[in-house]
């Protein structure tokens, strides 16, 4: 029985790995459909709870896969789900990276790097905008984004910035100025 579950987990997450273009958010919907509707490993409510937990945890948000595996088949399930989600895409990236590394410091590579840089800048801005348009993001978060960016650009430590923001939001919540 547990072995069946582990194989099923691998078969769900490994294909998701190679289609996860643009990272975690692009596969959450399909992950939810497979885990809740197709396999019945967990309920819709617990998937939402796991999503909240994955956001509260450090590290990449895609680690929600480990939580789904955990619900389905315990620690081994968490491990299988994480390896299945990360390994295939990692091999693709390493193959490209290997080729890239072999270019060394060639003029061709420098031209490609100079061409990729503005694309990366556009992708970073687009990613920030997409996440800021998510549900539950309001004026306070926009003000936080602008304020923190200005502070970080002046060389502030991100550890300090995060600690101050967390303390400020906790304080505002406490006095009832924020949150329901």
């Amino acid at each position: 029985m547990p072995l069946d579950r582990l194989i099923a987990l691998a078969l769900v997450f490994a294909p998701l790995s190679v289609v996860s273009l643009g990272g975690g958010p692009s596969i959450f919907a399909e992950m939810q459909r497979q885990a809740v509707e197709v396999h019945g490993w967990l309920t819709d409510e617990s998937f939402v709870a796991l999503f909240a937990i994955s956001r509260a945890a450090p590290g990449p948000g895609s680690l929600i896969a480990a939580l789904v595996g955990w619900e389905a088949a315990g620690f081994a399930g968490a491990l299988v789900a994480a390896v299945a989600l990360y390994l295939p895409s990692s091999l693709v990236l390493l193959a490209v990276g290997q080729w890239w590394r072999r270019r060394g410091d060639s003029p061709a590579r420098r031209v490609i790097e100079r061409g990729l840089a503005p694309v990366a800048v556009g992708l970073i801005f687009a990613g920030v905008l997409t996440l800021m348009r998510a549900e539950g993001v309001g004026l306070p978060e926009w003000l936080t984004l602008v304020g923190c960016t200005a502070w970080l650009m002046r060389g502030a430590s991100p550890y300090l910035v995060m600690a101050v923001v967390a303390a400020a939001y906790a304080g505002l919540f406490r006095i009832g100025a924020m949150g329901a």
């Binding site: 955990w70 991100p158 949150g179």
Partner: protein
């Protein structure tokens, strides 16, 4: 096969740096943390090499931050470097997230947690935005701004699918970089 970078980063240092980054990155914004440690503080990698990794990590399948960690580790120390960087960024958070799930099952939700996380996530995004702004400041000439603007509007504002967009934008941008280099 010549190394792209002098192997100044030891494997132990790669593991230590990425393990710390994985645990520090509440609310996302991992590329910002990596940029600070790898490019600005330790100078293991040039800004341009790092940005190429950001673009590759987003365009190829997989979680962006894990891809970027793999890329950095591989550029610095080949496959062992990539393995350690990915293990560092995933291993400790993997254990923490399981611990949080256990706590959640036992004690339920903490009041106010969602509010605080919303703020922390915005601060994490500020970290990423900082990388973009710093890179934008280094862009010379008009064409990089045009490329960045087209990419941002197409994917961020118009919400066009990323892959077709980058399949057009990347070759065009490399051609423009090539032309700018030969015109200079």
């Amino acid at each position: 096969m010549a190394d792209a970078m002098p192997p100044r980063a030891s494997l132990g240092a790669i593991l230590a740096v990425f393990a710390a980054l994985g645990m520090a990155s509440f609310g996302g914004g991992l590329p910002g943390w990596m940029h600070r440690e790898v490019v600005r503080r330790r100078r293991w990698m040039t800004e341009e090499n790092f940005l190429a990794g950001v673009a590759l990590g987003q365009v190829l399948p997989g979680a962006n931050s894990v891809n970027l960690a793999l890329y950095i580790g591989q550029q610095l120390r080949g496959w062992p470097g990539a393995m350690l960087a990915a293990f560092g960024i995933l291993g400790p958070p993997f254990l923490v997230i399981l611990g949080l799930a256990l706590m959640h099952a036992r004690y339920g939700e903490l009041p106010g947690m969602a509010v605080v996380l919303g703020g922390v996530a915005a601060a994490g995004l500020a970290n990423s935005l900082t990388v973009g702004l710093r890179a934008a400041r280094r862009m010379q000439g008009l064409w990089p701004w045009a490329v960045a603007a087209v990419t941002f509007v197409a994917i961020g504002v118009l919400r066009l699918p990323m892959i077709p967009v980058v399949l057009v934008v990347i070759p065009a941008s490399v051609a423009l970089a090539w032309r700018a280099r030969h015109a200079a």
